[in-house]
């Protein structure tokens, strides 16, 4: 990422911790002394809907919303949501840090007559989405975050692992990131979350993806 305005879009499913991740990333940018604006989603869509948080930082920020196809980075906790948001926000240079897995809703308003259509119509394999992403983005990081998080001891820290990877692409110091994480999580989970962050950071530094 260069010195211009950084536009980070965080997306996922309501309840996955998109708002919390947004708080961590924005606090890190704020602590590094930059102007910053964010926009969050609360209320109805937080009940399992598709949600996103916009974070913009740089010398001077006006709009809290990221303009079309101007995301510097997309951080996504669900691969299907990655697919949903790239069309509006990504360009060929966008750094994509995404879980390689996703939940597909078993139900949709597209289904007719209150019946799920035969042959699981509408079911897209996560691999198909991964293929689309691989074909189009040079700076793509598809991460088996749930697995790594389980190995660390708690699937809930998968978000922090992805934040660790994102941190590498920003000019913001590691110490500031750690402080931003500690500020936003329960004290008793601090060790685990720091470990998760450093695991992600290590991925970035060693380019394991």
């Amino acid at each position: 990422m260069d010195d211009l305005i950084q536009n980070i879009l965080i997306c996922g499913i309501g309840g996955q911790g998109v708002v919390l991740a947004g708080k961590i990333v924005s606090l890190a940018a704020f602590e590094s002394g930059l102007d910053i604006k964010t926009s969050e989603v609360h209320g109805m869509s937080q009940r399992g809907g598709s949600v996103s948080t916009h974070i913009r930082y740089g010398k001077k920020i006006f709009s809290p919303l990221i303009p079309e196809n101007r995301a510097t980075a997309i951080l996504s906790f669900d691969i299907y949501e990655t697919a949903r948001y790239i069309r509006s926000f990504a360009n060929e240079k966008t750094i994509i840090i995404s879980s390689n897995q996703g939940k597909i809703p078993s139900w949709t308003s597209k289904n007719k007559n209150d019946k799920i259509e035969e042959n699981g119509n509408g079911f897209i394999d996560a691999d198909a989405v991964a293929g689309l992403l691989k074909a189009n983005f040079k700076f793509l990081n598809l991460i088996d975050d749930k697995k790594i998080a389980e190995d660390l001891g708690n699937i809930k820290v998968s978000n922090i692992i992805l934040i660790g990877i994102l941190s590498g692409f920003t000019g913001i110091k590691k110490e500031i990131w750690l402080k931003a994480i500690e500020k936003n999580i329960p004290q008793k989970t601090a060790d685990l979350n720091i470990k998760a962050f450093l695991t992600g950071r290590n991925y970035y530094e060693n380019k394991i993806f």
Binding site: K37, S45, I104
Partner: protein, 626 residues
């Protein structure tokens, strides 16, 4: 310079949401009482203010009562604030319209958080029209810093000009974070200390003034004249207070705007001249005339209604705005760019002009996106509302619904609620619909506990009074869930530490008090029993009430039964379990024995409510034995 997170130091900056900044501004102004009813996007203001421990901060039963509490506090010479979402101001509009002519004693600020784009609302009404309707002033902040400063200033304006003041935000102001210089932050050693602007006349003992507060015709006629006269003072203030500002840039191109639209316009056309309306009602007639005299092409950018446009046009100045920007939904930087492009003659957004014609450099992922299913919000895994809606779906009865998480019961696959119009509508609409006899089935009215307190009690009394028969269902999950788990009279808790002892109001006793004798209490985790009791209640010819008794799985704390369920081998893929819309039940990549259907699986987010086991009549769902 920077806000120290460890010490929470005063002399530093902070990154706050608009809502947090409003709370900080109210604290700075020495607000004495702050009340409201939760509603997205306004809900976080009162909890943040309560953390300062400097004011009496409480959730009220509904918006009308909240505003009336604020009015009483103002009559008692104290500063008061009322917070609401846009539609909540409709509920409080009765006291508002007359408060507008009585004026105030202690400063009274009404915060209305509008929701253009309807992120979490049933309409996108533009509450700026209330300011004009009530002839009262309105402030519109554009970022968190202004949220703080304008809130604090609003109390002064209220007292100085003897008027309630509306502070109007939108979702993108309330839920955006931006930097605020040196705000008070709760948690630090904050002592209740009214600032210097806190007027001296406050803290007086109560005195009567019937000419001001008894709006019988004889006095109201005089007060209405006073309110009309007040508009002149308010217009002077709008012109001269310095809150409304002209920022001269290009002499060829100017923008009149307010609120979040200002930020989008600055982003897209930074070199244009700006008339930023922060005190946006009444509009500053002199500043507007000056602006259009000095700038060649002027365009108005505003979300929703042509409010500024109509005000300016009533000055005899015709400017364009809604010709280029939609009247529905919210704006964003790209819509502003396109609209300005149509308007012509503006200075392009420098920093992005270099790649203006570039398409995003990847293949249009159209095919996959077209197949990708929309992700609608859904009831949570283990939500106690699920079983009730599934049973109602099976019973095929007309269901007059309401506003809350349970509105999601109207969406597929449950499809079991037929209305969502206003808060508290369900029991009134159930009465009306059953009177029409347009359905052969008994009508159901359904609402949550917080909604019942908000405005369901009155319509249930009305039904009993008029001897109307329908089945009223109260989904009592012991919280106001959709807005984030706020307390209400049924929880027995409230925000303010000054009132740590709140009384818990018993819903069942209220209903008994009305004289309704047929009351069923059900455990919605037992689907079969839930179905049976609902069927019985619907077969009865009485006005009866069914109350569910399971708490919300998210608030006040996450609940989990400690069990997990699985789909067993041999599942034929009949999809019955998918009909409850549980987010833990997903489509797997495996097929059924006959190879023509994908079978479901239950993932680790299962909270063990067991409803799906009850629903799978073929017994292919069972608890995972450890």
């Amino acid at each position: 310079m920077q806000y120290d997170n460890i010490t929470g130091s005063y002399n530093s900056n902070a990154l706050l949401t608009g809502n947090e900044a409003i709370a900080s501004g109210a604290h700075k102004a020495g607000v004495y009482i702050a009340v409201g009813y939760p509603g997205t996007p306004s809900s976080e203001i009162l909890p943040f203010l309560a953390k300062f421990k400097s004011a009496i901060v409480n959730w009220s039963i509904n918006e009308k009562t909240a505003l009336e509490i604020a009015v009483g506090a103002s009559i008692g010479f104290k500063r008061s604030m009322f917070t609401t979402k846009h539609v909540g101001l409709n509920v409080a509009s009765d006291p508002l319209m007359t408060l507008a002519i009585t004026g105030v004693r202690g400063g009274l600020v009404i915060v209305t958080a509008d929701d253009p784009g309807m992120h979490s609302s049933q309409n996108e009404q533009d509450n700026r029209l209330y300011a004009k309707f009530a002839k009262i002033p309105m402030l519109e902040p554009s970022d968190s810093e202004e949220c703080l400063n304008f809130t604090a200033a609003a109390f002064d304006i209220s007292e100085k000009l003897d008027t309630p003041v509306i502070l109007r935000t939108t979702t993108r102001i309330s839920h955006s974070r931006s930097i605020v210089s040196q705000p008070d932050i709760p948690g630090a050693a904050v002592i209740f200390k009214p600032n210097a602007s806190y007027s001296e006349h406050l803290n007086k003992p109560y005195i009567k003034d019937i000419g001001k507060f008894v709006m019988a015709p004889v006095y109201a006629k005089k007060r209405h004249k006073a309110a009309i006269k007040r508009l002149e003072y308010l217009t002077d203030f709008s012109n001269n207070s310095g809150i409304n500002k002209i920022e001269y840039g290009s002499p060829d191109f100017g923008i009149v705007t307010s609120g979040i639209s200002y930020q989008y316009a600055k982003e897209i056309a930074p070199s244009a001249s700006f008339l930023k309306l922060s005190f946006s009602y009444p509009v500053p007639n002199i500043l507007i005339k000056e602006f259009v005299k000095n700038i060649k092409n002027v365009v108005i950018i505003e979300e929703l209604e042509p409010f500024i446009q109509n005000e300016i046009s009533s000055l005899g100045i015709n400017l364009k705005g809604k010709e280029y920007f939609p009247r529905d939904g919210e704006l964003n930087p790209d819509m502003v760019e396109r609209g300005l492009g149509e308007a012509g003659g503006f200075i392009a957004y420098e920093s992005r002009s270099h790649s203006k014609n570039n398409k995003p450099g990847f293949d249009d992922p159209g095919n996959i996106l077209e197949t990708l299913q929309p992700r609608l919000p859904a009831l949570c895994s283990g939500c106690p509302h699920t079983a009730v809606f599934y049973a109602l779906k099976k019973l095929r009865v007309p269901v007059m619904g309401d506003i809350g998480c349970y509105t999601l019961g109207a969406l597929p696959p449950l499809n079991a609620m037929d209305t969502c119009i206003s808060m508290g509508l369900a029991f009134g609409a159930a009465q009306g619909l059953s009177l029409t006899k347009s359905s052969s089935k008994k009508t159901v009215g359904i609402m949550g506990d917080s909604t019942f307190f908000h405005s369901g009690i009155t319509s249930l009394i009305d039904a009993k009074y008029n001897n109307i028969s329908f089945t009223a269902i109260i989904l009592d999950n012991a919280t106001t869930a959709m807005t984030g788990g706020q307390d209400h009279p049924g929880t027995g808790r409230n925000l303010s530490l000054n009132q740590s002892v709140s009384n818990k109001i018993d819903i069942k006793k209220i209903i008994e008090g009305i004289g309704i004798n047929e009351i069923y209490t059900i455990d919605p985790y037992d689907y079969n029993k839930t179905f049976k009791i609902l069927k019985k209640a619907l077969e009865s010819e009485n006005l009866n009430v069914v109350i569910t008794n399971r708490p919300c799985v998210l608030y006040p704390k996450k609940l989990d039964c400690g069990k997990k369920f699985e789909v067993l081998k041999g599942c034929p893929g009949c999809d019955l379990c998918m009909q409850i819309g549980c987010p833990s039940i997903l489509t797997s990549s495996f097929f059924n024995p006959s190879g023509n259907k994908r079978i479901p699986f239950i993932d680790a987010s299962c909270t063990g409510c067991s409803i799906c086991k009850d629903i799978c009549i073929f017994n292919f769902i069972d608890e995972i034995k450890k």
